[in-house]
Amino acid sequence: MAEKMTTIGAGAHFKGKISNASTIEVSGVVEADVATEKLTINESGTFGGSIHSKLVVVSGSYDGNMIADSVWLMPSSRVSGEIKYKSLQLDRGAALNCRVIQNWDEKATPETKTTSPNDDETALANSKDNSAEKA
């Protein structure tokens, strides 16, 4: 067993908070807010809650707000909620019922509105955000 991998086994039900994790594999049921490097939701796994991760692989069910660099939705995955991603792989068969936002930028989020006018990329992202709000 990999030392730095946390597994929530099939039949296990966890509700709460997980922090300081590096790799998490879910085969059971998890209702939690998680910050991690890599998160895998296996076919038998169900995850509800927010995810902050570099890589998320979903084969099971997910419902919540996900912020990840790379998201891979396998054929058996069922996803609802919201996904903010940089790159996404969606396999044929994946059930996706959610809001997806590509290339989210932490600099463009309302919490840290310290944008310089010279930063074209940020300005563009902000204008996109504003138009989305008005629509």
């Binding site: 946390t6 086994g9 039949g11 085969s27």
Partner: protein, 109 residues
């Protein structure tokens, strides 16, 4: 292997964990946990820390525990640091374990 719940050393978990629905399910804690844990077998490894309550059939403690353990059989290894209440029918304490608190037999339901 997917039946085992393993909490790795760097992790901090807070909440309730219930694995009594699957028979023979094991929880191995190497990291840090705060809250409630229900399982068949629980193993708290050396270096782990636990705060809260454990309900299990068999429990092995090698880490730091602050709280209550209710289990049929309990083993405290030499690296165990326990503070709280123990409710068990079978108890083994290795030389070197630090135990403070109360020890009593399980109530027959």
């Amino acid at each position: 292997m997917t039946d085992i719940t393993y909490i790795s050393p760097e992790i901090m978990m807070e909440g309730t964990l219930d694995v009594t629905s699957a028979k023979g399910s094991t929880v191995v804690l190497a990291g840090h946990y705060k809250g409630e844990m229900r399982a068949i077998d629980v193993r708290l490894e050396t270096g782990s820390s636990f705060t809260g309550k454990i309900f299990a059939q068999s429990t092995e403690v090698g880490g730091k525990v602050n709280g209550d353990i209710e289990t049929k059989s309990l083993k405290l290894t030499s690296s165990a640091r326990f503070e709280g209440a123990i409710l068990t029918d079978e108890l083994a304490i290795d030389v070197g374990a630090e135990v403070s608190g109360s020890i009593s037999k399980l109530q027959k339901a």
